[in-house]
Symmetry: C2
Subunit: 291 residues, 2 copies
């Protein structure tokens, strides 16, 4: 705790973990974000309030990352906290993206770069991989079967994969690299957080309320690549359709609200793209975005 009376009006910035928590909240406040839960649309079993509770619960793990905990341990803690609500998985991917970004920021505050975040990923160990798998004990995450040729244990084994991970000497960076072709968040870890930083630039360069910028950054990202969660849950053709329609919305050629309602009705939730926006919001906040 800081000493009493330390804070003068407007003089203290938010902490790194406060910015990470705020990024989770601003992400879900952006509307419309076709297919996602946002403040105007929700699923019966995944409501706006569940994502609020997820952001509340994730904070302690994000703070642990800022305070120097191992990336995997901080991630597992954040997921455990996030899971303390009745909807199950709310922000698993967003937290997986945020933890190395928070760690990179805390190590070198004021200069959050792709290189710094890459450095955090490269330094991960087998312990971090074991922690990552253990996080799957806390919550059911939508993942497909691993490809035949993969040498990674199925993440759904959770802590049961520990021996396999240790025997093969797999680090968290190895796990992310091995999942990069089918998971958009793992791809960020493996490829320098390129889309996350692009989303951050879009958010920083835009005008107006931050929630509106989050919505625009989401549409831009969704129009640029297929959402890997949609690929996992509905197949590549649906993901390609969603991408095309997001481009139409982005270009003003179709109505965003109508597409948003239809995707929710069909249960098509491009959650990986939302995760990228949460990461982008964090980077933008750390670089001075005002709320």
């Amino acid at each position: 705790m800081s000493p009493d009376g330390l804070y003068a009006r407007g003089e203290t910035p938010r902490t790194v973990s406060e910015n990470a928590q705020l990024a989770l909240l601003l992400e879900v406040a952006g509307t419309p974000k076709p297919g996602n839960v946002d403040r105007r649309r929700e699923y019966p079993d995944l409501r706006f309030e569940h994502l609020l509770a997820g952001a509340v619960g994730a904070r302690a793990g994000l703070a642990a990352a800022a305070d120097g905990a191992r990336v995997g341990a901080a991630f597992e803690r954040a997921v455990a906290g996030m899971s303390r609500q009745s909807a199950g998985n709310t922000q698993f991917g967003a937290v997986l993206l945020l933890v190395p970004l928070v760690r990179a920021t805390a190590q070198k505050r004021g200069a959050l770069t792709p290189e710094a975040a890459e450095g955090v990923v490269e330094e991960t160990t087998v312990e971090d991989a074991v922690d990552f798998y253990r996080a799957f004990d806390h919550v059911d995450v939508a993942v497909g079967d691993p490809p035949e040729e993969s040498d990674l244990p199925d993440v759904r084994r959770g802590s049961g994969a520990e021996t396999a991970l240790r025997n093969r000497g797999l680090t968290l960076a190895d796990v992310m690299a091995g999942s990069a072709d089918r998971d958009g968040v793992a791809r960020e870890h493996a490829r320098g957080f390129e889309r996350t930083f692009r989303a951050a630039d879009r958010i920083a360069d835009a005008d107006g309320p931050v929630a509106d910028r989050a919505s625009s950054a989401y549409l831009a990202a969704l129009a640029s690549e297929p959402d890997t969660l949609v690929v996992t849950s509905h197949g590549p053709e649906t993901a390609a359709e969603v991408q095309r329609r997001a481009a139409l919305v982005r270009d003003g050629e179709t109505d965003a609200e109508a597409v948003a309602s239809e995707l929710v009705d069909r249960g098509i939730n491009p959650g990986t793209t939302a995760d990228l926006v949460a990461g982008g919001l964090f980077v933008a906040l750390e670089r001075g975005l005002e709320v």
Copy 2:
């Protein structure tokens, strides 16, 4: 920090300060809450995202209250944190209500009663009063001129009132009692948190999404007494009109969405009633309300 791997699926409750932060977030998620910012309505200079940032910033002070900090010191810290966004005052009254409730809960977890909260208020000292006034240094709060007969320093003096408070030996409980007739949050401190606990019962007894329950509890409270912030900002006649119309909405005799839009258009924000709902949500969460 707790040791790694402590958390098994679904086994750990939220901490007291997490429930307090979640209460702030669920309050603003409830819709419609005529006149308030909610997830469907906002003011140009007081947006939904500002209340999210306010809840993020308030957490550390709420955690300090849970960890045993003096009530006034925790409150000032929460307000300083809440103020780290560009809209000024977002949740001053809600935080003022939450801090003694958090303190009472932390002292005796599992048995949050009006008596426990009253006990916290009764134990406050002149130091707490000084802290309370200092909180006004961080943010502009809508308050009227104190009545001629009041022996309390004007809160707008902020830390400048310290000598007067010390000379008169005024505790925070004295300050709250002296403001009770014109401020609905001070009235809760002075009168056993009666309306807060009534809101908690309403929320606990209702069914459905928590955000919907927050909306219903808000309407019930608004229909039962004039909102003191509306009295301060717009006068007693407007407050009486708002109360009457809230009763019509509650009884299904007029359209909630239409009233909500009209009040926002007229800039009539019954913020004290929203504060009561935030307090009620916290009490309900501590008593086992599931999200």
